[in-house]
């Protein structure tokens, strides 16, 4: 392109420069940004913790239940966790505004808690995790809610009982 062509192009089309930071930047639809975690749909299988190459995800058992933490200062935004998650409880958003000052270093965390409660059947403490999709195929809404509240042992019993019914 010679100078005059380029000049005419710039006059009509405007400069090539991205308007950011003075205007929002265009972001691809499948951009792999910040991690988002939904404790409502998480099964607590901890697959994401295992497959994370950067060790950014950590589950800890506390009095409140199972706590999920994903540290964005260690995450390499590879998408492994999202790929392996059976329920899509963990996924990446288009948000890339992660630059922060040093004081905020340890608060760049996606946090979530899977609450602990009492199993209504046996009374033992259990995690209120989502029901695995492959186990509750063909269940009604009420059955899923009933199944979900149970502890792992009682879930097994529930499945056997339902089969024999």
């Amino acid at each position: 392109m010679n100078f005059l062509q380029l000049f005419a192009h710039n006059l009509t089309q405007g400069p090539f420069t991205d308007p950011f930071p003075f205007q929002p930047a265009p972001t691809a639809k499948r951009f792999r940004g910040k991690i988002e975690f939904d404790p409502e749909t998480c099964e607590g299988c901890r697959k994401c913790e295992k497959v994370c190459p950067a060790g950014a995800i950590r589950f800890t058992k506390t009095d409140k239940g199972l706590e999920f933490d994903c540290w964005h200062d260690s995450c390499v935004f590879c998408g492994n966790c999202e790929f392996h998650c059976p329920t899509n409880a963990i996924h990446q958003t288009q948000d890339w505004h992660l630059a922060h000052v040093q004081q905020d270093k340890y608060s760049m965390v996606a946090h979530g808690v899977i609450p602990s409660h009492e199993c209504p059947s046996c009374g033992k403490p259990a995690l209120f995790t989502a029901a695995p999709a492959n186990k509750v195929k063909g269940f009604s809404e009420a059955e899923i809610a009933e199944f979900r509240a149970l502890c792992p042992k009682c879930r097994g019993k529930y499945l056997r009982d339902r089969k024999s019914r």
Binding site: F16, T17, P21, P53, A54, H97, L98, H100
Partner: protein
């Protein structure tokens, strides 16, 4: 006497940036080069320009997990930069070690050795994120002047 406020208002306009590669895989360096050198992202709109010598720098961008081998050299170069300088860690490597964390040959996180002011996570961060980090660094730098 009023030379100093005048000098301040002129001197705080255009910080020069310098980058140190502390053992980076080159991903972050490519993004940093892209941020400054191609018209698409053009960090010169913020008054920034890469300089060739650490002695001319105001803002230093560090990438890479600080390998054992490069550590001494990086510290020497870093100490050449005149105060007040602002340090920006680019990529997750310098911030926490990222994918190389707990490796025998890296010293990350670098804030054990360098006074880091701004972190830009990403592997690598996109150019716009680096611009955002540099904008934060410029604010800090103006306060320090």
């Amino acid at each position: 006497m009023n030379m100093i406020p005048d000098f301040k208002s002129i001197a705080t306009k255009s910080p020069w940036i310098y980058r140190i590669n502390a053992g980076s895989c080159n991903g972050c360096d490519v993004e940093m080069a892209t941020t400054a050198l191609i018209p698409r992202y053009d960090i010169e709109r913020l008054g920034c320009q890469y300089c060739g010598s650490p002695r001319h720098a105001d803002i230093v961008l560090i990438s890479g997990p600080l390998t054992t081998k490069v550590m001494q050299a990086a510290l020497v170069v870093f100490n050449e930069i005149p105060d007040p300088k602002v340090t920006v860690a680019v990529g997750v490597c310098p911030i926490s070690g990222g994918i190389f964390r707990e490796s025998y040959s890296v010293k990350a996180p670098i804030d054990q050795y360098f006074p880091v002011d701004v972190n830009v996570p990403g592997c690598p961060p996109r150019p716009q994120a680096i611009i955002e980090g540099v904008a934060k660094a410029i604010e800090i730098w103006r306060e320090r002047m």
